[in-house]
Amino acid sequence: MVMTSEQRVEAGEIVGKGRSPWADARRRFFRNKAALMGLVILGFVVAFALFGGYFAQWSNEELDYNVMGQIVELGGPSIESGHYFGTDDLGRDLFARTIQGTQISLAVGLVGALIACIVGTLYGAVAGYAGGRTDGIMMRLVDIFMAVPYMFVLILLLVMYGRSITILFAGIGLISWMEMARIVRGQTLTIKGREFVEAARATGVSAPVIILRHIVPNLLGVIAVYATLLVPLMILTESFISFLGLGVQEPLTSLGALISEGAGTIAYGTTWQLGFPLLFFCLTLFGLFFVGDGLRDALDPKDR
């Protein structure tokens, strides 16, 4: 078949440039409208958390003595008073507090997911690569841990070792690596039979190096997907604990703690105290879920 020059250029371009799996995935992701919408929402929330502070007229700890005691009448959202989102029941600026809460919630989500990823990936890759009895014992342990009511254990931890944010970060990460370990193990089992792993083993590369250099990089797609889906779950967990008043401590706050405060005072008619934190909470989760789903569609070879 004779090709026109344009077709030849087109074909040549495709051959010349090639398309990596990552470029493919990127294309699929950007064609997914829901995922793009999620990305935009997420970008807005992150920008709010990072740069919102420059627009705040009040800090998150300052008490506004003008509105104190008359929150219902004077504490509502208004541009003139500088309280764009109103104030809480103590007269603190809700705009500044929502920014601060969003920061903490995002940080907990990211750090928790990161810890879960590292622990889960290493555990799963080691179990899958070792195989045999080691694998059996390691995965049986995961089964056992998964049946532990982790939220209760986490609260137990927080109560015993003080409600510090470090414990919260570590605890949330350490209770959620099991699912990740299972997924990584399954993928490792399929990868470890491939030729390049065999070649590495034949040339005498040690097991830890094979796992870190040859297996884990090939799992990055799957890991990225489940990490993104873990972040909202971590945020949910943290918010749950903060809602119970067992999470971060004042003056720090998180979206869960703000929702809890707002929920406690709605009877007085200060609906903005519930509304704004709730809005940002829902936006964050929406964004993360959509981006995670989009990434899964783009990267997970299972669903192709």
Partner: protein, 305 residues
Amino acid sequence: MLSYILKRLAIAIPTLLVLIVISFLLMHSAPGGPFTSERELPPQVLANLNAKYGLDDPLWKQIGSYMWGIVSDFDFGPSFVYKDRSVNEIIAQGFPITLTYGLLSFAVAVIVGVSLGVAAAVRHNSLLDYVAVGVSIGAQVLPNFVMAPILVLVFTLWLGWLPGGGWQGPEYWIMPVIALSTSFMASIARITRSSMLEVLTSNHIRTARAKGLPERRVILRHALKPAMLPVISYLGPAFVAMITGSVVVDIYFSTGGIGKAFVDSALNRDYAVMMGVTILVGALTIFFNLVVDILYGWIDPKIRY
């Protein structure tokens, strides 16, 4: 089948033991004992208290006697804060309440979720399907602690239809059940829909249709059973999450279930009650996972015993 159940039990029992040991060690390693308070106790008093609660025994003996108490008499020991009450009494007070609204929520989530999912799959790409998908995506970001205040705001404060908290009659059950079941209902609906869509394209459904069975029978007899498998495997985690969620319900609606006892004991550092609740919840979870596994083995012919 029996050996399958036994095999599952062989996992369940060590799990429970691990849970007990972990929570015991956690409690033991916590800084400050149960009698630490602002007011310094004289050393003799402290020693007597420790002796009374067996806290001066070696660790293995403490774990042993604690476990033996649970196994032989179902006894979780005395509360560390309320000197006249045992952990059993505290749990027994709240447990029936938690069980009532928990089971109701579970039933609502499963029945409504599965019906919604099946309806959406059968009427794929219809308005009903879009509504179902929309609802289930929306409800994903509405966990119990978000639903609870919204429900109270709408139904108690604005409409005045339902009491905002307490536990006196069926009208007090409605909001806790809705708050607890919404997000699970949404997940179940989504899982049912996608697995039903997959099953509906499979060969045995085409055969069933080809031999002229009425559509109703095709759906209910031939499609529903295999489509339920992913839903059943979701029920285990959902159950755990629901028990956890009951804590929020107890706090927000003042229903007085075990969640309240747990948070109160967490704030009072009443380790004995915390451990009792944790172990009870763990045991329930393990038992429920066992039931789910058996159910799964019964429905899925591919599982070999």
